[in-house]
Chain length 154, copies 2
């Protein structure tokens, strides 16, 4: 392989997260807790051409399937993402992430005076007012949270 | 393209950093100050097979050439890396990073009592005792610095 050849990274088993909002692939890796030192093949492409949108990011992770909490976090920062599960080189399942109307227990309210930050047994809860760009409203204190506020927590 | 196909990310102009120590591609992106939101194509492959070593990482960055200080930082964390400059889809220059015997002004000494941390006009200076795994010795206070100490600063 010469460095100007196409680069190839096929995975036998794992997950491909496609149609990530352009520029957010590294945040997806952060959500998955992947820094590369795990030793598995990981490939990332950022700002590549896409048919659906003008640009997109892609993340491929070998030997890893996603947990439901991870999928919900990805939906928050990349609402158009698709999750493809690969087994024996084939896509055996393909799902688009889905941002629910209410986000519970995944992000904290940025308002320090919110009842959900008072040490009480209160699960955080936000209404999804808009998915892209993200706009969440806290159920308890009506504080508005946007994508940068959420990214800081991941 | 289906998701189990090979992924292609050819760049017209830019830089390919190849033979990065496995698991350190994201640190290289951090050194370059790239988070993907710049809008250029960036592709990363981690823990892929290599002829020279057993595994390696690769980073490709569109529309970006490296500054000397960046190359020196990459040499510290990935002493076997090669820097390939691409113009019009061709490799026009290929260099292996070179870790000099002395590292000056790039990393800070981890010893808070070191004279180089005293606010004096003293440039930091370390002797490279070993490149892989990295072992630096401060010229002033003889404090040993290893790769994790250096990574924290990038």
């Amino acid at each position: 392989m010469t460095t100007d050849d196409l680069y190839v990274a096929k995975i036998r088993n794992g997950t491909v997260i496609d149609h990530i909002s352009p520029g957010y692939a590294l945040d997806v890796l952060k959500i998955l807790g992947i820094d590369g030192r795990e030793g598995h093949i990981v490939s990332v492409a950022m700002n590549v051409s896409s048919k659906k949108a003008s640009k997109k990011d892609i993340v491929k992770v070998e030997n890893r399937e996603l947990k439901p909490g991870e999928v919900d976090k990805i939906a928050l920062i990349a609402p158009g993402a698709t999750i493809n599960i690969i087994r024996d080189y084939k896509v055996v399942q393909k799902d688009r992430v889905k941002l629910p109307d209410w986000i519970k227990g995944i992000v904290k309210c940025a308002n320090p005076s919110c009842v959900s930050n008072a040490g009480e047994p209160v699960e955080t809860k936000f209404h999804v007012e808009r998915s892209d760009p993200l706009r969440l409203r806290c159920y308890y204190c009506v504080r508005i949270m946007e994508k940068p506020d959420v990214l800081k927590q991941f």
